[in-house]
């Protein structure tokens, strides 16, 4: 599904990532973990097209997507969420998810402004679909609320609903459990599993080890910019290097 090979990233002389390679299977949940400063978020920013790597390639379903900007990746089926949730805070919850369907609709500037007949149909389809995703994320009762007024946990669910509305094949989540209470984290785990069961590949960066070990099919461990280990949750837990890296960090 996703092949990451030989990714190296250098910021002004500092090597943030060094020759990182791994591959991700279809319809799996993969966790990327590692101590602070391991380069997890940098890796995500490269895969999702926000940074361009110094060297190495990212291949999505056989297609080289290295260096493509985020807006080109969404139509190819890759979306992401952010650590400090990025909502469209002045828009309503429903409108946020409707924007998520941008690549699944096509009315242009002039057609919209002149209210051409076909735009009505498309608008209704966007609205219905968006409503369905709100129901999936269990926030449909908040459809009319301005997103900026949402509590953090609901905001997180909204961000996920918006990403799903883009009908992705793969979704990258940057620390989805950050800032959630234990109740909300449990709910999140269910949602992530449901997303996988719909046939969507999930990759997440996460600090909450309990969550990672619980839901992930595979885990990639980064340390100081390099890949330290890769395997099933059980293998990772039994890996001496990983334990040392974490204890050394404490």
């Amino acid at each position: 599904m996703l092949e990451v090979s030989g990714i190296t990233q250098i910021f002004g002389g500092v090597t943030a990532l060094k020759d990182v390679s791994f591959s991700i299977a279809k319809e799996s949940i993969t966790g990327v973990i590692g101590p602070n400063g391991a380069g997890k978020t940098t890796l995500f920013n490269i895969i999702s097209g926000i940074y361009t790597q110094t060297s190495g390639t990212v291949v999505l379903e056989g297609r080289n997507i290295s260096g493509l900007p985020p807006e080109r990746l969404a139509p190819l089926g890759m979306v992401r969420t952010f650590q400090n949730i990025e909502l469209f805070s002045s828009m309503t919850v429903l409108e946020n998810v409707m924007v998520g369907m941008h690549t699944k609709s096509s009315s242009g500037l002039l057609a919209c402004s002149l209210k051409m007949p076909w735009t009505f149909k498309e608008e209704a389809r966007i609205r219905d679909n968006a409503m369905r995703w709100l129901e999936f994320a269990e926030i449909s009762d908040l459809a009319g609320t301005v997103a900026g007024n949402l509590p953090f946990g609901k905001g997180r669910m909204l961000e996920i609903a918006r990403a799903l509305a883009a009908d992705p094949k793969i979704i990258l989540m940057d620390e989805p459990a950050a800032g959630l209470n234990s109740q909300e984290t449990l709910g999140l785990a269910d949602v992530i599993k449901k997303i996988r069961d719909m046939g969507i590949t999930v990759v997440l960066v996460e600090h909450d080890m309990e969550l990672v070990m619980d839901i992930c099919d595979r885990i990639v461990v980064l340390n100081l910019g390099s890949k330290l280990a890769e395997g099933t949750p059980r293998e990772i837990q039994e890996n001496g290097d990983v334990v040392a890296a974490y204890l050394g960090d404490e």
């Binding site: 910021f11 002004g12 920013n45 926000i50 940074y51």
Partner: protein, 293 residues
């Protein structure tokens, strides 16, 4: 085109360039400590010249006494502006800051027009108008004053930023204001300081240029924008790069006015401004920085 003439244009361009450099450094100091581009910067330049005239005319002060008074009042105005308009802003988004500083700028301009009318005035030269001949070109004593005072201010500025505690604290804020706050630097005071320094420098620039170019309530926009252009060429540095930016702009303008057309002289600065912003937004001498999310 004769070599003499080019020399003449270059010489007069040098002194206007020095003025642009002073104004540009004012922009950079505020930008580096706050991330704000102060659209009102030019108005402090205007205030410098107008206030000096005011003190000479109304209070019958001699020039040497009127100048410090004008700088002082300008500095106070700069402090007030920061305290009343910038600091209380609840949502300091770039757009809000642009609108606030533009609002402040035309407010100051309007107030000056009410106080002093729409006429242009001239300030007496600091030491006579007898031209001095260098090679085959002539310059006025005021040109020398401008170059000399600019050098002194830039030197003092350098000393302040590198050899005093406050100056070092301000530099720390410009690198990383959160970290500076954590080690006990009062960041808000440093922001106020940056407004103090740049309004004083702006005022001084306005005073030394007024004997050459005349002054009126509306000279602030153009001078301000050209100072900004100098700062952009210099990559928003508060040091030598902006000085060079100012001098390049001054000389190009002066040559352009002489060789092409004086009407389009003002356009030169803006064309350079756009070109630099489009092609090298980090300035002529800076290195590209990777954009962070």
């Amino acid at each position: 085109m004769q070599l003499d003439q080019i020399l003449q244009f270059a010489l007069s361009g040098l002194s206007t360039g020095a003025i642009y450099a002073l104004i540009g450094i004012g922009f950079s100091i505020i930008y580096n400590s706050t991330g704000i581009i102060n659209f009102a910067q030019g108005e402090f330049v205007m205030l410098g010249g107008m206030l000096t005239l005011f003190f000479i005319g109304l209070l019958q002060l001699p020039l040497w006494a009127a100048i410090p008074c004008a700088v002082l009042v300008c500095t106070l105005a700069g402090m007030l502006f920061e305290r009343l308009a910038i600091r209380p802003l609840r949502k300091p988004t770039p757009i809000n800051l642009v609108i606030i500083t533009i609002g402040g700028s035309i407010f100051i301009r309007g107030l000056s027009m009410l106080l002093w009318g729409k006429d242009t005035h001239s300030l007496p030269s600091f030491s006579g108008d007898e031209p001095i001949t260098i090679a085959n070109a002539t310059i006025l004593p005021q040109h020398l004053w401008i170059l000399g005072i600019t050098l002194v201010i830039i030197g003092a500025n350098k000393f302040f930023f590198y050899h005093t505690i406050s100056g070092k604290a301000m530099r720390a804020c410009s690198y990383n204001s959160r970290a500076a706050g954590l080690v006990g630097i009062d960041v808000r005071r440093m922001v106020l300081f940056s407004f103090v320094i740049s309004s004083a420098m702006g005022a001084m620039a306005g005073i030394i240029v007024a004997p050459l170019t005349m002054t009126s309530y509306d000279v602030g926009i153009m001078l301000g924008l050209k100072g900004f252009c100098a700062a952009i060429i210099g990559g928003m540095s508060s040091g030598i790069a902006t000085v060079i930016g100012g001098l390049i702009l001054g000389i190009l303008e002066s040559l352009g006015a002489g060789l092409i057309s004086s009407g389009y002289k003002d356009a030169i600065a803006f064309i350079i401004l756009l070109l630099i912003l489009f092609i090298r937004p980090q300035g002529l001498f800076g290195k590209a920085e990777s954009e962070r999310v």
